[in-house]
Homo-oligomer: 308 residues x 2
């Protein structure tokens, strides 16, 4: 009889995360997070030893979880950058438009021996259009469709905030199209811009953030960036900007690209979730917020669908 538990692994560019999940209740019994993201392993490896390094990191974590929990789990689903050119196995993308169903995602399966037990690994690949790519978000979305039936009732836009925010157009269960916005990465890079960084040392507060959002709408990103400096010149140090202003500017600019007449669902967690909500309100967008809890459940829910 197969174990009622399985491993759910989210292996991103900068973070590794594995959970031991009850497949009936989706309850997470154990969870481990580390900095062993795909890019750090890629940098430390050569083409020859890369598979062994990835197997070593996963095997060590599974070994520890098994030793502590005594679980009999023997299946592990992995999504994220582990299937990329810098990952464990380089898998092709599925191509959108695409019905979002476990059978339509690209994947590979193989066995990983851990403590004398063969763990069945399912490595899931991402989705591409002609000029955009995602890896990892396809499982978040697959789980969200399962947990939030309202998403398949109408053509809608699902917003997944992050370093590379995704705006995904869903038509029923069909992933029709998507756009990636470099919002988080741009925030980090623009903050270091030599002529702006001295004016962005102040973290700022909600009113600065909302002023940034409105500036994105009223004057646009490139002009608003210059005004950070101009306001300092005109008004003195106390009238400069702040990191919160820049954050509002970039999130506002991103949300201004949500198409008219499409229901917008926000699926974020933590601080970003509330920032996107406040920015959406300030822009007069009707953004429906999915519970951050649901987003956390979505990945393990999708991973269960991949091993059933």
């Amino acid at each position: 009889m197969p174990s009622r538990e399985f491993f759910s692994c989210d292996w991103g560019t900068s973070h590794f995360r594995v959970r031991l999940v009850n497949s009936a209740t989706l309850e997470v019994r154990d969870e481990r997070v580390s900095e062993e993201g795909v890019s750090s392993i890629f940098r430390a490896s050569s083409t020859d030893d890369r598979p062994a390094l990835f197997a070593g990191v996963l095997g060590r974590h599974l070994h520890e979880v098994i030793a502590e929990s005594g679980t009999g789990a023997d299946r592990c689903v992995i999504s994220g950058m582990a299937s990329s050119t810098i990952g464990w196995v380089d898998l092709p993308y599925a191509v959108a438009p695409l019905p979002l169903h476990p059978s339509r995602l690209e994947r590979t399966t193989f066995l990983l021996p851990v403590d004398g037990r063969d763990i069945s690994i399912v490595l899931v690949s991402g989705i591409r259009t002609t000029d955009d790519v995602m890896r990892g978000e396809e499982c978040e979305l697959l789980g969200l469709l399962e947990l939030c039936p309202e998403l398949v009732q109408e053509r809608c836009l699902v917003v997944l905030p992050g370093t590379h925010s995704k705006h995904i157009v869903m038509e029923g269960r069909i992933l029709a199209d998507f756009q990636t916005f470099m919002t988080g990465e741009l925030f980090a890079h623009l903050r270091k811009m030599p002529t702006l960084s001295p004016m962005l040392e102040d973290e700022g507060d909600e009113s600065d953030f909302l002023r940034g959002v409105r500036s994105a709408r009223d004057v646009g990103l490139t002009a608003a960036l210059f005004k950070i400096r101009a306001r300092r010149v005109i008004g003195g140090a106390r009238h400069g900007a702040s990191a919160a202003f820049l954050s509002g500017l970039l999130i506002g600019d991103e949300l201004l690209h949500t198409p008219d007449g499409l229901a917008v669902y926000l699926a974020g967690a933590g601080h970003l979730h509330s920032l996107y909500l406040r920015a959406g309100e300030a822009l007069g967008l009707s953004v429906r917020a999915l519970s951050p809890e649901i987003l956390r459940q979505a990945v393990v829910c999708a991973h269960r669908m991949m091993v059933l």
Copy 2:
């Protein structure tokens, strides 16, 4: 009898330029350009010795021009960053909306002894709104109004491309409003973005530039930046982007902010002039190009108005 010649000086952040001009014909008899921009002098100076350093640089160039040309010129008009907080004398801005007339610009006058002759210096300050600033462009614009009578016939937008592009709304002779776009500075900074720079080493050609312009319109700046990377992942090295693509993206994004229904006049010189023209065409904007020659004449024309 005053000399029929005067000195016209354009003292920017990174460059110094002085011309000996015939005040009747506006013919430039001599011209000197150096890297002694305001910021390099600011960095090399303290509050105490700053005025002497600025006087030294200008005095040396005027001495050389006088020695070589034998001119009797004793008036010198300076515009640009020399009147800023990092300049020779920190002058307040004139405030827009403002009738663009020499008498309405802020300036200071003083004498600079050169070769036993007192040169009368007119240092012209810039213009601000509540949240934007310009220094130097006000003289370009003043000269353009004099040289291009069509600019005062209707409400129009004058575009001055550059590191900090200016879009200036003119209502007859009134400078009504303006916006600065950090286009050139952003180009330099984004080109160095660690995750993008390897894909932007190729200089590219006109078709890349126009693809960038269209991407600004079709998907927006932040999403198009991500596609630079995505295209490389999907299509291999030959399908990456180029510096020309990034240039098109930023200039396209800037020009998309020109308001509807306003005649747009482009006043640029050199390579930027033709890039802005091609981007405007690709976006279907009706951009009227002023001759690059006229822009070069505009500053000396405005400077003559300041000493008459």
